[in-house]
């Protein structure tokens, strides 16, 4: 296929490298920073620039930018695309871009719009950190706008060739609600955890639990703040629920109430067991 990528950061760059590695595709890329374009070329993430000429033959256009840049970045290319071309965004929240895609699908009924969220990432950002194996064993989430079931199956199959272990189709609303918990809240927790005063001391040791918990404290603040504010309704609900639960442990500790603390820990323990069992099925 001929694939266009707009935005050649960690995600877009990794996508280009992955496509080039699995072969059988031609990759055309665009980034508004000239140095990134040069790097994408040097690192072999693209075959050629995506421009007014190359856009005409594109089968699939993937936009890997912040939600706020999605619309403005594709407007120039949409009138050039051939009938049946598929447009997908890679934004980490889906309600905003799906609403925009819905509007676009009315204006360009011959184009196919399907939202996407590759649940892969690294603690780093930028094309320098992009890698061809980024999607290995990750989940790809699709939110459909106007694709028929056969096209959707083709798109699913395409993403599986990139290394994703599963492709899940859901609604933008459910996606944003779930992601507020499974991804965004994790990042806030990790980012806030590292702020405890004692964290800056060098212990000469750290447990595995600490390493796991603080891994995603490192993040791209510009991108995440946009995604989180855009999903603020869901995220603040999840965050407040979490704080409320934490406060119960705090009360038990202050009361020296071992029975209550053991009960709280048991509840979490059993819940984790149950959820893991359910997810294995």
């Amino acid at each position: 296929m001929k694939i266009g990528i707009i935005g050649l950061g960690l995600m877009g760059g990794s996508l280009g490298k992955t496509l080039k590695k699995i072969g059988g595709h031609e990759v055309f890329g665009y980034d508004n920073q000239e140095t990134v374009m040069l790097k994408a070329d040097m690192l072999g993430a693209i075959n050629a620039p995506l421009d007014e000429t190359t856009a005409k033959d594109i089968d699939m256009l993937i936009v890997s930018l912040y939600p706020s840049s999605f619309l403005s970045s594709i407007e120039r290319f949409l009138p050039l695309l051939k009938d049946g071309a598929v447009i997908t965004d890679f934004c980490g929240i889906k309600r905003k871009t799906m609403a925009e895609m819905k509007e676009l699908s009315k204006k360009y009924p011959n184009l196919i719009f399907v939202g996407g969220h590759p649940m892969a990432g690294r603690e780093f950002s930028g094309i320098d950190r992009s890698v061809s194996g980024l999607f290995e064993k990750a989940s790809m989430i699709l939110t459909n706008v106007n694709a028929d079931i056969f096209t959707l199956e083709k798109i699913k199959a395409f993403y599986l060739t990139l290394g994703f272990s599963e492709v899940v189709i859901t609604t933008p609303e459910y996606h944003d609600r779930a992601i507020a918990f499974t991804s965004q809240l994790c990042h806030i927790v990790s980012n806030a955890f590292i702020k405890n005063e004692i964290a800056s001391e060098h212990f000469g040791y750290s447990a595995g639990s600490y390493k796991d918990l603080t891994r995603v404290a490192r993040l791209n603040p510009k991108m995440w703040s946009e995604l989180m504010i855009e999903n603020g309704d869901n995220l603040s609900k999840e965050l407040d629920e979490f704080i409320e639960n934490l406060q119960k442990y705090s009360v038990a500790l202050k009361n020296g109430d071992r029975v209550e603390l053991e009960k709280l820990l048991s509840e979490g323990n059993e819940r984790k067991l149950l959820i893991d069992t359910k997810n294995k099925k």
Copy 2:
């Protein structure tokens, strides 16, 4: 060496198996549950039972029990031990057992008391889950009572042979303050996180950040509640500081204040970078 182990659970069992695997030691074990004694024998975690006869030749006695059982479990063996025998507990908090060891060292001045906390573990407990590689690349923390520097060096060297990557010597007070954050708080966070209502839904996907964050939600509630209540002063301080920091994110989200949220995320991001750099040195 001849090594006695009291308490043959996950830790004690893993210690026995590790000692047997590296060789050169004779392992004598004691557990107050007969089925555990039988399993320890069958699984090859011990050479023979630790009893009134075998205790006499022990060079090192390691107690791998809850803090509340430490004192009562060793009293019967202490009068039997030979001069210079080393007694170490494996409790996850150190102030309580160190105070007890200090008293014992007055009563038994010819015995050597050194507290220990192997910073290794699994989400499971019991001898069935014990493994010989449990201490691989983990940190061992020692809190000294009455060992001279040469003996302490010998003990350090011994633990390095078990697979530990480092042995750190510190005070019980500092250990408990640090561990409240690096280990206990992580477990509470993970255990509380999984309680959000939405966690019980099966998404068909989950991000790496979610997997990392919920790993230690599964824990031994009986053991952890004892360790946490015993360290309640330090732990509740750390927990409250964390909750306070989380609340700042909640406020920014509710106000839709992207500038503030980006600032909060940047602070966490930079702090994580700084700490990682410091810890690498």
